[in-house]
């Protein structure tokens, strides 16, 4: 068995333990800077991950753990997200009353969970990795316990998380009860025998519901806006990016490695899930005035767009999911970074705090505008190309299944609606009448660097998508051919 395969995860966990220990000896101002130490550590691990690129596909730990290009993609994705989130957390440190080094350590442990989830090839691994992520986020969301909203968000996340964990574990029990297998490859080997077995189907369906909680898709999406609104900004950002990506990694593996036959038979169910999720997220976002709630509903809508790639049932769709997540990472992190900096300056998360932002800080205004434009899917930014790839993948499938045209129509309608509410925010930035304050907003240098990084990421993926598109297509092709 090749233990070096999990060395990245081990390094992340050790870094987290190191932070917890370092907390004992450091003075409070030095503790805040531990976040930079963690970010640099993760950057080193990110660089180290490229030494694994050559290994085609390796299984370890009685085939529970798989390291293939798909897993590597999701691992690098989560590492990148965690680096930006750690930098955000340093900027957020003033508002966390106690335990800032524990906050960093918990982010690292959640990251370890996401990296294990990226490699899960067994239902036991799936459950354990998902619980590690979810339990960590119970704590992260309610971290500002002096704030009622934070506690409320934490409790809501806890209750719905526990409910969906119950569905997930029930589904796993039903699958194990009918097939006697937990490993994805072994389930795949026997799944064709059980395609008419209702109990087995119910098991798969319950697992799907459990995973929908993680990706914030219908029917387990209801927590999203409240939790985003209540939780500390870095936690909400990590929830929006890392946790959703981990959910999609698991969803892809379950649907297409373990039960591909059933997934193909469920094309209408997947299309319906995507349609409901897109409509719910976009329509409910229209009346919102709170920035974090808007991003919460937008997160639901984006889960719906990503489900397009699942419903397309082809390699192009799966590769498009990976690409779309890449663009989504930069856009969402940039939006949360701007919210963080603006909120450090003035209390309140209402759209009105953005009034006159273009005069107070042109950089913040430009980055937030680009992030929202990318999320809305307007060229030339990354979001447009991601949506384009997803819709094209669905249209490829439309010859076999006319319902795909409905899906594409709903997706386009969703894009139009989303342009409306994103532009409500952009209007507040540039065309507010009589902004109350016009003092410049100070942008700390490191946060500014993170902002520029996200902006460049969006522009790069939008203008030169070839490299990432090829990477994702190779990863998916390799995974499908295994």
């Amino acid at each position: 068995m090749n233990y070096s395969l999990i060395s990245m995860e081990i390094a992340v966990v050790l870094l987290g333990l190191g932070l917890l220990l370092a907390d004992l000896w450091l003075a409070p101002p030095a503790k805040v800077r531990l976040g930079y130490v963690a970010a640099v550590g993760l950057a080193l691990i990110f660089g180290w991950s490229f030494t694994f690129s050559g290994t085609p596909s390796a299984l370890a730990f009685s085939d529970m753990y798989v390291l293939d290009p798909l897993a590597l993609y999701f691992k690098r994705f989560s590492l990148l997200a965690a680096i930006v989130v750690l930098i955000m957390s340093v900027g957020f440190a003033e508002r966390i009353a106690a335990g800032i080094s524990e906050f960093y350590a918990l982010i690292l442990f959640a990251l370890a969970g996401m990296m294990f989830a990226a490699s899960a090839n067994d239902l036991a691994m799936l459950f354990v990795a998902m619980e590690l992520i979810t339990v960590t986020f119970y704590v992260l969301t309610s971290f500002q316990r002096a704030r009622l909203a934070s506690l409320e968000g934490g409790v809501k996340y806890l209750i719905i998380g526990a409910l969906s964990s119950a569905f997930l574990v029930y589904g796993i029990a039903l699958i194990f009860g009918t097939t006697g297998q937990l490993n994805f490859d072994q389930i795949a080997a026997v799944a064709s025998k059980y395609e008419d077995n209702k109990i087995f189907l119910l098991g798969v369906f319950f697992v799907l519901v459990g995973l929908c909680f993680k990706i914030a898709a219908f029917p387990a999406h209801i927590w999203t806006p409240d939790v985003y609104q209540g939780s500390p900004v870095p936690a909400a950002a990590f929830l929006a990016v890392g946790s959703k990506a981990a959910g999609f990694a698991l969803l892809l593996r379950v649907l297409f490695t373990a039960v591909p036959g059933i997934t193909n038979g469920w094309n209408h169910l997947l299309i319906a899930l995507a349609i409901v999720t897109i409509l719910y997220g976009n329509l409910c976002a229209i009346p919102q005035r709170n920035l974090k709630r808007i991003l919460g509903y937008s997160s639901i809508a984006n889960a719906g767009y990503l489900l397009l790639g699942v419903a397309a049932l082809n390699n192009a769709g799966r590769a498009a999911i990976l690409y779309y997540l890449g663009g989504y990472l930069f856009a969402v992190l940039a939006a949360f970074l701007v919210i963080l900096i603006v909120m450090n300056d003035a209390e309140g998360e209402d759209i009105s705090v953005l009034a006159g932002l273009n005069q107070r800080s042109p950089l913040l205004a430009a980055v937030l505008t680009c992030a929202l434009v990318s999320l809305a899917g307007i060229p030339p930014l990354a979001g447009f190309f991601g949506k384009f790839l997803l819709i094209r993948a669905v249209l490829d499938e439309a010859a076999n299944n006319p319902a795909c045209y409905w899906l594409v129509a709903v997706a386009c309608f969703g894009v139009v609606v989303s342009i409306y509410y994103y532009f409500g925010v952009i209007r507040a930035i540039y065309w507010s009448k009589d902004p109350p304050v016009l003092s410049p907003i100070p942008v700390p240098r490191v946060l500014g660097a993170a902002l520029v990084f996200c902006l460049l990421g969006m522009l790069y993926l939008g203008l030169f998508p070839n490299h990432l598109v090829e990477t994702t297509q190779d990863a998916v092709k390799f995974w499908a051919g295994r």
Binding site: S62, V128, V139, A146
Partner: protein, 164 residues
């Protein structure tokens, strides 16, 4: 005999489970939870999972429940007892539970009885269980240790009295 015992324990589990939700006094709910857990331990015994049954009684019915009762003792019970049930909530709850039960029943009825799967049975002894945990399932087992650490850190952070 085994069948009768199964139905007895299953009915007990279901009945106590519903009473946990339905009774308005938190202490009563907690006590019904103890009963539900104990009858589930009975189900485990019928499956020859003796170790699991013992752990269920020792850890859940014993240790965890004592903690539950302490927490209930420290909270104000009167509010919960006086709280009116929301009619819409009750209706929605029954509808969703009913739907899930209907779907499950439909699934069970529609599924032909399949021969029992041949899985390795160890009759609940601790030795094979330990060997499985430390060989086949070693990776999830070790990840759980990180999960427990997270839970511990989280509980201390969220309950520590002073925000310094």
């Amino acid at each position: 005999m085994q069948d009768y015992l199964f139905y007895l324990f299953a009915l007990l589990t279901l009945g106590c489970g519903s009473m946990i939700v339905l009774s308005r006094n938190p202490i009563n709910s907690a006590m019904f939870l103890v009963l539900a857990i104990a009858s589930m331990a009975g189900l485990f015994v019928l499956l020859h999972a003796f170790f699991l049954a013992a752990v269920q009684v020792l850890v859940y019915a014993g240790a965890v429940m004592v903690l539950f009762l302490f927490v209930i003792m420290l909270l104000d019970l009167k509010v919960e007892q006086r709280r009116r049930m929301n009619t819409l909530g009750i209706i929605m709850g029954f509808v969703s539970v009913g739907t899930i039960i209907a779907v499950m029943l439909h699934g069970v009825v529609a599924t032909p009885v399949t021969p029992v799967l041949e899985v390795a049975r160890h009759d609940g002894a601790t030795e094979p269980l330990g060997q499985l945990l430390f060989s086949h399932y070693v990776l999830p087992f070790e990840i759980l240790s990180v999960l427990l650490l997270v839970a511990m850190v989280g509980v201390i952070l969220l309950s520590k009295k002073e925000l310094k």
